[in-house]
Structures are given as C-alpha cells and as structure tokens.
C-alpha cells in the first residue's frame, strides 16, 4: 500500500527562476479563482461547443455545480487514497448516506431541511466511524474488499427498498415542501451553484489544513511506511480512523448538496462504480496534490456529461461504426484515458504541470 507513486514536488527550489511578473499574485490565485467562479453566474458569455447555453443558463450552472461537487468529493477521497494511502472501494456509501439521509428525512419524516442536513451529516460521519473501525482492522487489498462489501450492503438496502423508505429502483424525488424556496426551482439553480462552490472551498480548505497539520504528517507517514509510525509510539489505527471518518463526513456533506441539486436520490449513486470513478478522478488529477483531485473530479464529470452529447453528435455518427460505438460510451473513453494515465502519467494532471514546467525551464535555458 505504501508504494504509491506520488507526484514529484515542484522543483521550484532546485532552480530559482527569474522572479516572474505574476509571481507576487501566485498565493492569491485560489482566491482569485474562487471570486471568478462566484461571479460567473452574472456572465452571459456564450461558449459554443463547451456549453450548450450561455454560462448563466440554468442548464450550464447545473452542470457546473455537479462538477464542483464531484471535484470536492474527489478531494475528500484523496484524503484517504492520496494522503493516507488507504484504498477504499466504499466511499460511495457515505456520499449516498448524505443524499438519501437528507431526502428521506425531508420527504418521509417531514423535517425542515437544516435539521435533515445536520442529521444526515452526523449520520454519515457516524457510519464512517463505525464501519471504518471494523474495516481498518484489515489492511491493503483486504481493506479494499471489505469497504467494497460494506458499500454493497448500502446499495442493496437502497435498491430493495427496505421499510419502503428509499423508493427502490425508482429513486426518491425530494419533497420540496420542506425545502426553503431559494433552493427550489430552475430559476434558483444559481443558488445551488453557489452552495456547491462554497462546499468545494470548504473541502479544499479542510483537506489542506489537515494535511499541513501534525496529523497530516502522521497520515503521510502511514502512507509511506506504517511501521515507522508505530515505532514513534503513535497508533496508526487511530489516525487512519480519523482520516476515514473525516473523509466520510465530507462525502456526506456533498451528498446533502447533491440531493438538493438533482432534487432527490436515485440508486445509481450507491453503486461501486461511483467509488471507482472517484478513484479515476483522483488518479487522473494527481493524488496527494492540492488541486489535482479537484480538477480531476471536475474534468471527469464534465467529460462524462459532454461525451454523452458528443457521442450522439453527427461528427461521431459519421465515423465507421467500429469507432462511433465505443466513442459514444463516455466510460469507454474515460476508462481508456485512465489506463493510459496509470502507465504514462503516474502523477496525473498535477504531475503533468510540473513536468511541463521542467520542460519549459529546460527550453528557456537554451
């Protein structure tokens, strides 16, 4: 579990480059990006080929919000995978706990949204703590299998509609009577977009703070060589459980917002495929980097959405059927890209940028 290829640290210290004109702005880039993303809904920009409608159309904002949520989910998952070296195949369960928890408490129990959200969040965190306590008694591949099995129980419970709560295969539309009006209706998509953006900012902040803290250094130590942490007199189990619970709680929080965004819950979010796509997002973006998983997650969801449209477009239809068939399947394209990334870009997109930086420096030195 420890032989994970981590993206090489940026070689900025190795070659002190000329002070760039924008260098002073660099620490502020995330805030600038956040501000830009926050005012984006006021733009009526048309980006043909990128989005179907203008940027501030509800359809585009909906897609962007989904991307933001999954960027955040990937960052939260990276806390386990990239930063602690835990390969969990059951992360969908905690996301689903947030989605279904909110939905059931609002729709079936008639609770106001804020209560439902709070309960779903604590419920998801508690579930992660309990199941993590059992699963973390194993390590490595066995841990992967056990988390997968636990998540499968969640999927079964949802699909079989135990107690008539989940709506089974049909899913459960959210009863908007219990939801504040600002989050209801197509015209209010922009509010959900802002909510998703705030959630992303929160997750990035939390993950960054945790990994920069002493706890984060212990987690990195566990990833690199767990025995060494044991030798230091620290109990790796506790730290892993903290990471697992926190990561689960962040996923449950994302579930709450996702539930509002799509207006309900459907069983496909409980499937192991969702966890697998989180893994794909993190690896594509670059594990254990601050922005890699976020970008990986956003890009994945964007491509997943756009490739479906692209697949049925006339350009693809014009291709011979040998090509057009597979290309119309987003998962085929993403799966293939993912496999290639594992071989050729072990650091993901984040690793790519440092490689490009090295290349640029090498070229400019001539």
């Amino acid at each position: 579990m420890t032989d994970l290829d981590v993206a090489p640290a940026p070689a900025a210290t190795a070659a002190p480059a000329r002070p760039h004109r924008w260098a002073a702005l660099r620490p502020w880039t995330p805030l600038l990006a956040l501000a830009l993303a926050a005012v984006l809904p006021y733009s009526t920009l048309q980006l043909p080929g990128v989005f179907d409608g203008p940027v501030n159309s509800p359809g585009t904002l909906h897609l962007l919000a989904v991307c933001l949520i999954f960027g955040a989910l990937a960052a939260g998952y990276d806390l386990l995978f990239g930063r602690t070296g835990l390969l969990s195949f059951g992360h969908a369960l905690y996301f689903a706990a947030g989605v279904y928890g909110t939905d059931i408490l609002v729709t079936r129990a008639g609770l106001p949204l804020w209560q439902a959200a709070l309960l779903a969040l604590t419920g998801g965190a508690t579930l992660a703590a309990l199941l993590g306590a059992v699963a973390l008694r194993t390590a490595g591949i066995a841990f992967a299998m056990v988390t997968l099995a636990f998540a499968q129980v969640g999927a079964i419970l949802v699909a079989r509609d135990f107690g008539g709560l989940t709506g089974g295969e049909e899913g459960l539309p959210l009863d908007v009577a219990g939801v504040p009006a600002v989050f209801v209706g197509v015209t209010n998509t922009v509010n959900l977009y802002w909510l998703a953006l705030a959630y992303l900012a929160l997750v990035v902040f939390v993950v960054h703070r945790v990994s920069a803290s002493p706890t984060g250094r212990v987690l990195a130590g566990i990833r690199d060589d767990e025995r060494r942490i044991g030798v230091l007199g620290l109990d790796p189990y506790r730290f892993k459980l903290v990471a697992f619970t926190l990561s689960g709680a962040l996923a449950a929080g994302g579930g709450v917002i996702y539930c509002l965004l799509v207006g309900g819950a459907s069983p496909h979010i409980t499937s192991s495929e969702l966890t697998l796509s989180l893994l794909v997002m993190v690896v594509l973006g670059g594990p254990a980097t601050r922005w890699g998983p976020v970008i990986g997650g956003m890009l994945y969801m964007y491509l997943d959405h756009r490739l479906t449209a692209f697949g049925s477009s006339s350009t693809v239809d014009a291709l011979p059927s040998v090509l057009s068939g597979p290309l119309s399947q987003p998962l085929f394209v993403l799966g293939t890209v993912f496999i290639l990334a594992v071989y050729f870009f072990p650091g993901g997109l984040a690793g790519l940028t440092t490689r490009l930086a090295t290349l640029r420096r090498a070229l400019s030195r001539r």
Partner: protein, 296 residues
Amino acid sequence: MSTIVLLTLTGLGLAALYFLVASGLSLVFGLADVLNFAHGLFLSVGAYGTWWAAQHLPGAGATGFGFVLAVAFGVVAGAVVAALVELVMIRPLYSRTIEQVLVTVGLSLAGVALLQATWGADPRPFPRPAWTQRVTDVLGAKVPNSGLLLIVAAAAVLAAILLFLRYTRYGLVIRAGVENREMVTALGIDVRKAFTLVFAIGGAAAALAGALGGVYFGSVSPGQGGSLLIFAFIVVVIGGMGSVVGSAYAAVAVGLLQQFVNYYGTSGAGDVCVVALLAIVLLLRPQGIAGKAATA
C-alpha cells in the same frame, strides 16, 4: 422438506457460480497479489462469446453438441482475453500492486462500456438447450436443470484445478508461489509464466460461469459480471486468498446463507447477512478460513 431441498440446491447453484468466479480471483490474488477488478469482464466475455458463437460459429448452436461447442468457444475466448490482459497490461507493472489494481479498474469500466457499445445495454436472450429449461424432481423438490448443471460444472472445475495443482509441475510452482513468490524465483523458476497461466485458468473458469450463468438467468447483459464480482470478492476474502479449497467452502456458505435468509427473511436480507458473515470472519480470523493472511 421439499422447500429445504430446493433452497439447498438453488443455494448450491448460486455457490457454484460464485466459486467459478472466485477460484480464479483467489489464485490470481494469491500468486500475483493482483486484485483483479477486470475479472467480471472475463465472465462477460465468456457469456457474450457463447451467445455470439451460438448464432454465428459454424457447427455451434443452442442445442446438443452445438451448445457445447458454443460454450467451449466462450471459455477459450475468456482464457485468451485473460492471458492477454496479464501479458499486455499487468506484466509491465510487475509488483506495483496499486497501479495494477488501478489498471484493472479502468479495464472493467472501459470493458463494460465496450460491450454496451457493441451489443447494447439491454439483456439479450441467451441460447439454451431445451433440457436446461426443465426441472428435475429431487426428493419431491422441482429443481431447475440449469442450476444442477452449474453445480456439476463447478464440482468438475474444482476437481480439475485441484488435480492440476497437485500433479503438474506448474501446479507445484503455483502452490509454492502463493506461499513465497520470491523464493520460487530464487530456485531458478520464471514465476511470471505462472502468472499468465493463472490468469488464463481464472479467465476460463469465469467465462464458464458467464456461459452457464447465462443459461441459468436466461439472458446476458453487460453489467452481469460486475454484480457477481462483488460477492465473488467476499467469497475470496472469507475463504482465504490463494486457497481454492477455501473458496469452495466459502462459496457454499455464502450461497446457502443468501438463499435461505432471502427466502425466510425479507428479500435482500440474505445479501446483508453475507456481508455480516464477512465482517465476523475478518474480525475473528483476518486470514480467512484457509490460506495466507488477507492483510497485504
């Protein structure tokens, strides 16, 4: 009484299906440390291979010897695909466990999507000889023949794998490799050849599960492999990774538990019980019923 017989035999039929998938997974994991998410794909290759052959392969069909030929085609296709996956995709990442898992994850996503692109997402009716659609009277219970066929096939595969492991040179290499791969190399044996072989064997067994599972369910769909795979994983962990006999015991336990609880409790409760069984086994015996420690 007849209910219990029926439940036992259908439970064993399910166990047979699990075993066919799990035996290969277990060997591949035990020997090569590869958690193979693409194993469900081998099952689908077997199912679609058989389905395709029954319509297009000369001499093959849905009845009699033609059906046997179609299944054989599916099994060979599964073995070939599995061996190719090992040679082309797994081998370059030798002993890099995490990357190997990631590649099989990508392969399972892309593979299912490819099947969907080629033959559609909807279930296709599967070629079935007429006798497999009838029932046999066993102690008053009317048991579907397709279930019995699965049980017989799984028993035959179990026996064949055990004989192979016990009496052949490669079987010896595989058994030793599961125990200590490095030491096998240090005796002058190229253990990677054995990797390809266990992938091929596992692929063939999974493909057989796909073909006979198609007969059992009456249809074939791209997602079939994935849902079976999760229970096969559970069987592998309970049985102890690397142990074929352990997989057989665990498959029987899981199949029977699932069938009985689903019948006497609510539908789906059996699946939950199976995961509970997994949790209990892991807490009491982290290494599974038999075989090497499950902690990597």
